[in-house]
């Protein structure tokens, strides 16, 4: 795993670096509040944020299903859309990992696009690790969350990008927040993209175990940094009737709590 590589030629003016937000398809479709939370956090970290309209998805469904041709087409589309930015940031370790670790591999044989894929990969980061490691954010000021919180480490962020300490560091500065470590926090929740619908029985076993571990922490809130995992865990917790509020870590860090937790309505 590469260490976080700051882009070598960022020309940061007085107005801060230009960041292209890779919203991710699941945030775009299911939970826009995570996108707005990311924008707020990036602005707190002194960035100018833009959101290219020509983005759709990072291409993982195709890439992980063995459809390299479609995955490569989508990768080229993403690269073209994000080429002009100092940094590209995604509120997801999985999608950031796709851009950073897998686009260069996917386009390695394409002489035109391979250098462009590397160029993008070098400047792409997962949101929370970007705030801490690249922007040097030490904490969030004036943010409050009254609750006992537990945190799940999503696999790609953890193992491809080394996202582990950064969210805990920032959460530690949220007033009123009490962190209960989740036993087995590094064990996969069973989402796995198309895995969860291709092998639903296994996925259910894994997320069932995870839901039990979450409930056992006694925390009233469960956070993670990837929408896929969050939808999976929230869906299981609510099916099991567990009273745990599930949110993306960015919502809590940005203090954007207007939306009800994932899988709950305004009344519940």
């Amino acid at each position: 795993m590469d260490d976080a590589i700051p882009a070598d030629d960022v020309t940061e003016g007085e107005s801060g670096p230009r960041v292209g937000l890779f919203v991710t398809c699941l945030v775009d479709l299911f939970r826009p509040i995570v996108g707005f939370s990311a924008v707020r956090l990036l602005e707190w970290a002194g960035c100018r944020v833009e959101v290219p309209g020509s983005q759709t998805c990072c291409g993982q469904p195709a890439y992980n299903s063995g459809d390299r041709a479609d995955a490569a087409d989508i990768a080229r589309q993403v690269i073209a859309a994000f080429e002009g930015f100092d940094y590209v940031v995604a509120p997801s370790g999985s999608c950031a990992g796709m851009l950073r670790e897998h686009y260069p591999a996917l386009l390695a044989d394409d002489t035109d696009w391979a250098p462009r894929a590397h160029h993008l990969a070098r400047r792409t980061h997962e949101l929370v690790s970007f705030l801490v490691d690249i922007r040097g954010m030490g904490g969030v000021d004036g943010v409050r969350y009254d609750g006992a919180v537990t945190y799940h480490d999503s696999c790609s962020g953890l193992r491809e990008l080394g996202v582990k300490a950064q969210p805990r560091q920032l959460l530690g500065t949220v007033a009123g927040l009490e962190l209960h470590e989740l036993p087995g926090a590094e064990i996969c929740c069973g989402f796995g993209g198309t895995f969860c619908v291709k092998y639903p029985d296994i996925s259910n076993k894994m997320v069932g175990d995870k839901a039990r571990d979450i409930v056992a922490t006694g925390a009233d809130t469960m956070l993670a940094g990837d929408m896929g995992c969050l939808l999976n865990m929230a869906g299981k917790l609510s099916r099991d009737g567990a009273e745990v509020r599930v949110r993306h870590v960015a919502e809590v860090l940005a203090g954007m709590l207007d939306e009800p937790p994932i899988g709950q309505s305004r009344r519940s």
Partner: protein
């Protein structure tokens, strides 16, 4: 062993609801993981050793012909014989022929996954010999006529009570009401039964963890001592090994040995590490009169130079399966072949064919935990992804998957259309789930909603809201 990997999905479904299996799996998980973590933490150079071990094996595989020929030369110089087998069938026949010439009846066996791979016991039985497994786990599953469910703990899928029942059924000459509730009672009984076999065996068969080219030695790593009795007491010792077990030197062997037990059981070293150097010499007190090594290819040489070559570095420690949440959910039998878990998902398609093994590389979330513990640094998820590409390109992927994927990709490559379509769809889903915040059932989403709710989307997509906010911004200025 006949692969049954095509039934993976059905077996997995049965496995997750099998209470006894789940109890057995629950017993194994924390033990293996914690012991490995503790012993690795005590060895500062563990990471450096992983690199060294990877390099040793890569070098060996790049020069495999040289090292195998050198190994053969040394075995012969030590007074032993080498038999080359292209297929499992050839290996079985070579072994049966040695047993026939020796006039053997009882054949004891140490644990060997290669012997399981080639169905050696069935072959020997059909030829009129009586093979007896002497590793405790293998002994138990032999009595139960089962395949191993884990490469280092073949009976891992069983709980104590099942083993007691098996022993009562098999050992009919013992008192029917003897106590068998304690592990100690079970092992004592197995030991007493096996002692008879060790003494009566004409041929002993073991596997090999390593073949040392410079010395012609075969090496086994065990904890029960059964391997030593298997190879020392009978007149003939046969080693069955696949060709990728070769290492150039004793130095190389000991470097990898430092990783093996730590990764497997969390021991610093296993109880026994046994080096076999040919038959008994004039000055030796004991040992076999004949020493044979059967070198099995069975598809491995065809894996050299392919994208799956790195799987040939595997030293069969089992760390990947011990840490795999999928293996931990379904156990080894679901995989339907002798090597289960992540390494099976990467290796089995190469050895039994992708058409047979197509589920295995798909049944992974790519969580990557296996790669972080693999002592040989095998890029397991990369190889699984390679098989998915092969499957997709060769049309083996199910039509429904291909259709869904191509429709999605078609839309994802047309951002304007995608935005329009998703805006409508999310509005509808948002309305559908507005009251409860979640959706309990959706057409075509049974894989998800059978077990989980679908959290409802907020309703307006991010892109929709962002575009509206930007319009307002520029309008306000």
């Amino acid at each position: 062993m006949q692969p049954t990997s095509l039934a993976f999905k059905d077996r997995a479904r049965d496995a997750v609801t099998d209470a006894q299996l789940q109890r057995a799996l629950l017993n194994m998980k924390p033990g293996f993981q914690q012991r490995r973590a503790a012993t690795v933490a005590k060895l500062p150079e563990f990471e450096a050793l992983r690199d060294q071990a990877r390099d040793i094996k890569n070098h060996t595989l790049a020069n495999l012909d040289t090292y195998l020929l050198r190994f053969e030369e040394r075995v012969v110089a030590n007074g032993g014989q080498v038999h080359w087998a292209r297929t499992g069938r050839e290996a079985c026949e070579a072994i049966a022929e040695i047993c026939r010439r020796a006039g053997a009846r009882t054949v004891t066996k140490g644990k060997s996954m290669v012997a399981e791979e080639i169905g050696l016991n069935d072959h020997l039985e059909a030829e009129g010999f009586t093979p007896i497994e002497t590793d405790l786990g293998e002994y138990i599953i032999q009595l139960r006529h089962e395949a191993p469910s884990h490469i280092i703990a073949p009976a891992l899928h069983l709980v104590k009570q099942q083993i007691a029942d098996t022993f009562r059924e098999a050992h009919t000459d013992l008192e029917a009401d003897r106590p068998l509730s304690e592990p100690r009672q079970l092992t004592d009984e197995a030991r007493a039964m096996l002692r008879r076999s060790f003494l009566s065996a004409d041929v002993g068969i073991t596997g090999a963890n390593f073949l040392v080219a410079e010395t012609g030695q075969t090496v086994i790593v065990t904890n029960e001592g059964n391997g030593d009795l298997t190879q020392c007491l009978p007149r003939i010792h046969i080693v069955i090994s696949s060709i990728e077990k070769a290492v150039p030197t004793l130095e190389d062997c000991s470097a990898i040995l430092r990783l093996l037990a730590r990764s497997a059981t969390g021991q610093e070293f296993s109880a026994y590490t046994t080096f076999s150097t040919g038959p008994k010499r004039a000055e030796d007190l004991d040992g076999p009169d004949e020493f044979h090594v059967v070198l099995l290819d069975n598809g491995r040489s065809a894996v050299l130079g392919t994208e799956a070559e790195d799987t040939l570095r595997c030293i069969r420690c089992g760390a990947c399966m011990n840490h795999c949440p999928v293996y931990g959910s379904v156990g080894g039998h679901a995989y339907g072949w002798v090597v289960p878990g992540p390494i099976g998902a990467a290796l089995d398609p190469a050895l039994i064919g992708l058409d047979q093994a197509r589920h295995l590389p798909n049944a992974s979330t790519f969580c990557g935990r296996c790669e972080t513990v693999c002592p040989m640094k095998i890029p397991l998820t990369k190889i699984m992804r390679h098989w998915r590409v092969k499957e997709f390109e060769s049309g083996l992927a199910p039509a429904s998957v291909r259709r869904g994927l191509s429709l999605w990709a078609w839309a994802a490559k047309r951002p304007r259309l995608y935005r329009f379509g998703t805006r409508l769809a999310m509005r509808m889903l948002g309305l559908l789930g507005r009251r409860r915040g979640r959706i309990g059932w959706l057409p075509l989403s049974g894989g998800w909603t059978r077990f989980r709710d679908m959290p409802a989307p907020q309703g307006r997509t991010f892109q929709d809201q962002w575009a509206a906010a930007s319009r307002q911004d520029s309008g306000g200025r």
